[in-house]
C-alpha cells in the first residue's frame, strides 16, 4: 500500500530504483500518519472508557466502545439483507451490514454524480446565455440557501417513499453550489488560454470542451469534495424519513427502540464511510485531475 502510487505506472517506476531511500522515507511518513491516526482515535476512546469506568457517564445512554462493539453479531441482527422498505431485519450478518452500507453509499454517489453533471451543465448554460441567466438566476439565488433538509417533504410528495428522495436530497446539496461556482470558475479561466484556442481556430464548442472544461474541473471537484460531508448528513436524514432502508433507517430505528449501542455502532460505520469516500474522491482527484498541485487538493 505505501508504495502503490510510485509503482502503479511503469514510467514512474524507473526512478524508484535509484531513489530507494526516498521511498522508505515516504513509507515511514505514511506509517507515522497511520500511527497518529490510531493515537488520536485511541485517545478519544480511552477518555470515553475512563468516563465510563469512573461512572461519570451512564452506559445506557453513552455506551463506550467496548460495549457497543462487544456483541457485533447481535448488533448486526438489526441490519437487513434486502433493500426492501419497512422490512424487519432478516437475520443480519456481515452481508446485511455491507448491503446496507452499499445502498447508502450508492445513494450518496448517485446524488453527487447527478448534482455535479447537472450543476456544471446549468452553470455553463447560465454563463453563456444571458437571457437564461436573467430568467433563472433570481430563482436560483432564492432556492440555493434553502437547507436540503427542507426539501425532504417536497421530495417525498413528488417521488414517494424509496431511493429517489434520498438521491434527490444529495443532489440538492451539491447542485446549487456547483451551479454557482461554475460561472465564477469559467470567468476566471486565464484569458490567454482562450486566445490560444481562438488563434488555433477552435470553435466555441471546441473551446468549451477542450479548454474551459478541463480548466475549471479541478476547482469544481474541490467544491464537490467539500460538499461530500454535507451529502452524508442529508442522506441519513432522508433514509430515516423518506426511504425506509439504509443506515439512516437503522439509526432512526435504534433511537425509537432506545438502543444506544446500535446508535453508536451505526455512527461509527457512518464516520468510517464518510472518511473512506473522501479518501476515494481524493484518489480520483489525484489520478484524473493530476494537473492541480496536490497542495491545493487538500491535506
Amino acid at each position: 500500500m505505501p508504495s502503490k502510487s510510485m509503482t502503479a505506472e511503469p514510467p514512474a517506476a524507473a526512478p524508484v530504483i535509484h531513489t530507494g531511500g526516498i521511498l522508505t522515507k515516504k513509507a515511514r511518513e505514511r506509517l507515522a500518519k497511520l500511527g497518529w491516526g490510531i493515537v488520536s482515535i485511541g485517545l478519544f476512546a480511552l477518555i470515553w472508557e475512563a468516563l465510563w469506568y469512573f461512572e461519570m457517564v451512564n452506559p445506557l445512554l453513552l455506551p463506550p466502545p467496548h460495549l457497543f462493539l462487544q456483541d457485533i453479531p447481535g448488533t448486526l441482527k438489526f441490519f437487513d439483507r434486502s433493500n426492501r422498505i419497512g422490512h424487519i431485519a432478516s437475520g443480519g450478518g456481515v452481508i446485511a451490514l455491507l448491503t446496507t452500507m452499499g445502498w447508502t453509499t450508492f445513494r450518496v454517489f448517485t446524488g453527487l454524480a447527478l448534482g455535479f453533471i447537472c450543476g456544471v451543465g446549468l452553470g455553463a448554460a447560465l454563463y453563456y446565455f444571458r437571457m437564461l441567466r436573467n430568467v433563472l438566476m433570481p430563482t436560483i439565488l432564492l432556492l440555493a440557501p434553502i437547507s436540503p433538509v427542507a426539501w425532504l417533504p417536497v421530495a417525498i410528495f413528488v417521488f414517494g417513499i424509496g431511493d429517489v428522495p434520498a438521491i434527490f436530497l444529495v443532489f440538492i446539496t451539491v447542485f446549487f453550489a456547483i451551479v454557482l461556482s461554475t460561472g465564477a470558475q469559467i470567468s476566471s479561466v486565464p484569458i490567454n488560454y482562450i486566445h490560444v484556442a481562438r488563434i488555433m481556430g477552435a470553435t466555441q464548442r471546441q473551446t468549451f470542451w477542450r479548454v474551459i472544461l478541463p480548466a475549471i474541473l479541478p476547482s469544481l471537484f474541490m467544491t464537490l469534495r467539500l460538499n461530500l460531508f454535507g451529502a452524508w448528513m442529508v442522506v441519513l436524514i432522508a433514509e430515516a424519513v423518506g426511504v425506509g432502508t439504509g443506515l439512516g433507517q437503522i439509526t432512526s430505528m435504534a433511537r425509537a427502540t432506545f438502543n444506544a449501542k446500535l446508535v453508536f455502532f451505526t455512527m461509527g460505520i457512518v464516520g468510517a464511510l464518510g472518511f473512506l469516500t473522501d479518501w476515494g474522491l481524493r484518489q480520483v482527484q489525484r489520478k484524473m485531475l493530476w494537473w492541480v498541485a496536490p497542495a491545493k487538493g487538500g491535506f
Binding site: N192, Y193, H195, V196, R198, G201, A202, L289, W290, W291
Partner: protein
C-alpha cells in the same frame, strides 16, 4: 517589391470601458512588415504596442484604419498569425506533446500525423526529451520554447510575441534570443516582437519601430544595419543604444508630464 506580410494602414484604437473616459491607445499608425522580416516594437509601457499585436492577431478589432494580411483585411484570428504571450500559457492538463499538437487536433489532423509533426518541432526547439512531461515540470525558458513550438506547429506566416522573455532571468533570456533567431531563420516567418528592452531590440531586429507615449504613434523606424550575431561591444551597437535611449527618455518624460497635468 513583394506584397508585405502585414500592412498596417492608419490604424487607431480606442479602448472604451463603461463608466470611464475612453482611452486612445493607438493613433494613425502605418507600418508595413515584409515577409520574413524581424520587426521589434519598442516603446514605453502603455503605448499600445501590445494592443497592436492583438489587433494583428485578430483578437481585437481596430477602431479606425485597416490591417491587411496578404492583401486581405483581418477579421478573425488565424493560425497563420501565431501569438506568444509573456507567460507560456500552456494547458496544464496536457503533456508538452499534446500542447504542441493542440492546434493540429483542432484542425482535425490525423493522430499519428499530429504526433509526428509535434515531435519533430519539439526536437527542433530542443525539447525532444520532454514530450511526455507536463508543463509544470519544465523551467520557464523551456515552457516558452514549448509555446513557440505550439505556434510553429501551425506553420505561421507571422509570429507575434508579446514581451516573451520578460519573465525570464538574464542568462535564460540571452539563450532564448539566440534560440529565437534560429527558429526565425528556420521558419522564414515574419516576426513581430514587442519589448521595452533596448538591448533586446538591437540584438534581434531587422527594423525597430519606436513608439511614442500614449496614444501610440510611430516616432521613428530604425533599421539595424549590423550583421548577426551582434556584439554589444561594437561601436555601432553603442550608437544605436544611445539613440534609442534618447528617443525613449523623451517619450517617458512626456508621459510623466501628461500624467501630472491630469
Amino acid at each position: 517589391m513583394a506584397r508585405p506580410a502585414v500592412s498596417i494602414r492608419n490604424v487607431g484604437k480606442t479602448w472604451e470601458v463603461e463608466g470611464r473616459r475612453p482611452v486612445r491607445a493607438i493613433d494613425g499608425l502605418t507600418i508595413d512588415i515584409e515577409p520574413g522580416e524581424f520587426v521589434v516594437l519598442l516603446g514605453p509601457s502603455g503605448c499600445g504596442k501590445s494592443s497592436l499585436l492583438y489587433m494583428i492577431a485578430g483578437l481585437e478589432d481596430v477602431s479606425d484604419g485597416v490591417i491587411e494580411c496578404d492583401g486581405l483585411p483581418i477579421t478573425a484570428p488565424s493560425a497563420e498569425r501565431g501569438l506568444i504571450f509573456q507567460e507560456a500559457s500552456l494547458f496544464p492538463w496536457l503533456t508538452i506533446l499534446d500542447n504542441v499538437a493542440f492546434g493540429l487536433a483542432i484542425q482535425a489532423e490525423q493522430p499519428e500525423r499530429r504526433r509526428e509533426i509535434a515531435t519533430e518541432i519539439l526536437r527542433r526547439v530542443g525539447l525532444g526529451d520532454m514530450l511526455d512531461k507536463k508543463p509544470d515540470e519544465l523551467s520557464g525558458g523551456m515552457r516558452q520554447r514549448a509555446a513557440c513550438a505550439r505556434a510553429l506547429a501551425m506553420k505561421p506566416k507571422v509570429l507575434m510575441m508579446d514581451e516573451p522573455f520578460a519573465a525570464l532571468d538574464v542568462q535564460t533570456r540571452a539563450k532564448m534570443q539566440d534560440f529565437l533567431l534560429q527558429i526565425w531563420r528556420d521558419s522564414r516567418a515574419s516576426i513581430i516582437l514587442v519589448t521595452h528592452s533596448i538591448d533586446e531590440a538591437i540584438s534581434l531586429a531587422d527594423r525597430v519601430v519606436v513608439f511614442t507615449a500614449r496614444p501610440g504613434q510611430v516616432k521613428e523606424i530604425v533599421p539595424i544595419d549590423m550583421p548577426r550575431p551582434r556584439n554589444p561591444r561594437d561601436p555601432r551597437y553603442h550608437a544605436y543604444r544611445d539613440h534609442f535611449t534618447e528617443l525613449l527618455a523623451a517619450e517617458v518624460d512626456r508621459a510623466f508630464a501628461e500624467q501630472e497635468v491630469r
